[in-house]
Structures are given as C-alpha cells and as structure tokens.
C-alpha cells in the first residue's frame, strides 16, 4: 500500500486492490481506471499507454514475481489526478534487479521471447522506478494537453 512505500503521500487519493495470482483477474480494475482517464480528458494515445503498462506490470508481478503461485497476491495501488496517474504494483516474490534484465533490442537478444514487458513500460510511461528489491514497480504518466505540454 502507498503508506508503506518510500514516498509519503496522502492515502486518501489512492485506491488499493489486492488480487490473487490469477491472470484473468488483471482486467477487473481496468475499466474503472480507463473510464476515469477518459473523463479527465486523457487522450486515446495516453490511455493506450497506461493500459499497456498496467497490463505488463500486472503480468510481470504474477508470472515473474509470484511465479503463478495462487497462494501469493499482487497489491495494486493507483491514484488518478487531473495532471497524472500513478500506479504501483507489488508482488510477493523474491524481487529482482531491473538493470540485470537483458536488453531485448540487442541483436543477440532479438530472438529471445521474454524481456519486452519492462521495456514497453519504460517507453510508454513518463516515470518508472522500483522499490522493495524489485518487488514493486512505480509508474507515472502525465496528462499532456494537445501540443505536447504537460
């Protein structure tokens, strides 16, 4: 939950969902998040970016973090503000070191079927960081008005 994250935030802004490790549950939270983004005027491109990063973070947490162990959970926290959305996804796995994940765009790695989720999250979100030895990913996407300014 946000109160236990490195930053100090107002807890009242945040929505928390605790999900069992079941991939089919990932999309339960999506309509609420995407609907709110639409109401606040986030563009289609921005909603695509958030949806993709959200999916990738949740899949990573369940598959690579919790290793699909149904006894483990994923904790999702998000807050949607007029100027940005912040998403935090934490698993109960052993953690990992993001900088050790091979770059999937290197020629020698192009044929590797894994490792693209993190790259997509980095590309589509404006800020991304990790906490708790890699068990939590924190992502921020700013709402940009037409013309590109935040």
């Amino acid at each position: 939950m946000p109160s236990s994250s490195p930053e100090t935030d107002s807890r009242s802004d945040w929505t928390e969902k605790v999900l069992p490790t079941r991939l089919e549950l990932i999309r339960d939270a999506e309509p609420e998040v995407l609907g709110r983004l639409r109401e606040l005027g986030y563009s289609e491109d921005q909603r695509f970016a958030v949806r993709l990063a959200f999916e990738e973070a949740m899949v990573n947490a369940m598959k690579h973090g919790n290793r699909m162990d149904p006894a483990l959970h994923v904790v999702l926290n998000y807050r949607i503000l007029p100027d940005r959305i912040e998403i935090r996804v934490r698993d109960e796995g052993p953690g990992f070191e993001p900088h050790l994940v091979p770059d999937p765009t290197c020629d020698e790695n192009l044929n590797r079927p894994c490792g693209r989720g993190i790259m997509l999250m980095r590309s589509y979100m404006d800020e991304i960081s990790y906490a708790y030895e890699g068990r939590e990913v924190c992502m921020v996407k700013y709402r940009k008005r037409e013309g590109g300014s935040a």
Partner: protein, 123 residues
C-alpha cells in the same frame, strides 16, 4: 469450420497460409496460449510460409510478442517463414520500440504480404 474457441483462423492462399486473428484483443491467457499454439502448429509442416494478419486487433501484450518470436523461430527452423500484415499504428509502435520490426517483415495489407512470397527473390 474452425473451432469457435480458436483465436486464429487459417486459410490457404495459393500455397501461403493466411492466419487471421479473430478478436480485437489478445489479452486473456487462454487467448495468448491459443494464439501461440495455432502459429506453432503451422511449423509442423516443413517449409510453411505464413502471413499473419492483425486486422482489427487493437490490444495485445508482450506475451503475444513472445509467442510471435517462438513461432517465427520454429517456422524458420523448419524452412518456413512468418510475415505480418494489417498492424494497427499503436501495435506497430510496440514492434518498433522492441525492435521487432527488424526481426519480422511487416506489410500494410495481407494481400501485399501474400504477394511478397511470390515475388522474385531480391538480388
């Protein structure tokens, strides 16, 4: 008739296997697995040339990209090939970001991709 549960429908187009995705998204685990199974099964016949059309697909994840890479490897190993077509601009951006636009031959439309198999090989 294809199995209603299968996310990919396959047609024969003059010696080329045309695979069309039957959904506007490939997100659910069952869809991703069905997608991968159908493509990899095509590699069971050596030398199979495949065009995969993403017409109408608006959402997918990196899990799908992984399945595509596996299918591509299997097809190449068996003397075949996988070419892609009809990719939505948002989805194409995912290919570009991950440099998979360098791994796959990507065409605007499925008929162009099919025709490319019949074109004279480049010098």
């Amino acid at each position: 008739m294809p199995d209603e549960k299968e996310i990919i429908q396959i047609f024969d187009r003059g010696g080329v296997k045309l695979a069309r995705v039957r959904s506007d998204s490939i997100l659910q685990e069952s869809e991703v697995e069905s997608f991968g199974r159908a493509l990899i099964a095509l590699a069971e016949v050596p030398g199979t040339r495949v065009v995969l059309s993403f017409l109408g697909v608006r959402q997918l994840t990196s899990l799908v990209l992984g399945k595509l890479i596996l299918a591509h490897k299997r097809l190449v190993e068996s003397g075949g090939e996988l070419r892609l077509a009809d990719i939505d601009p948002h989805i194409y951006e995912m290919f570009a970001i991950t440099h998979l636009d360098r791994l796959f031959r990507i065409f605007e439309r499925e008929d162009e991709a099919i025709a490319s198999y019949h074109a004279a090989p480049e010098a």
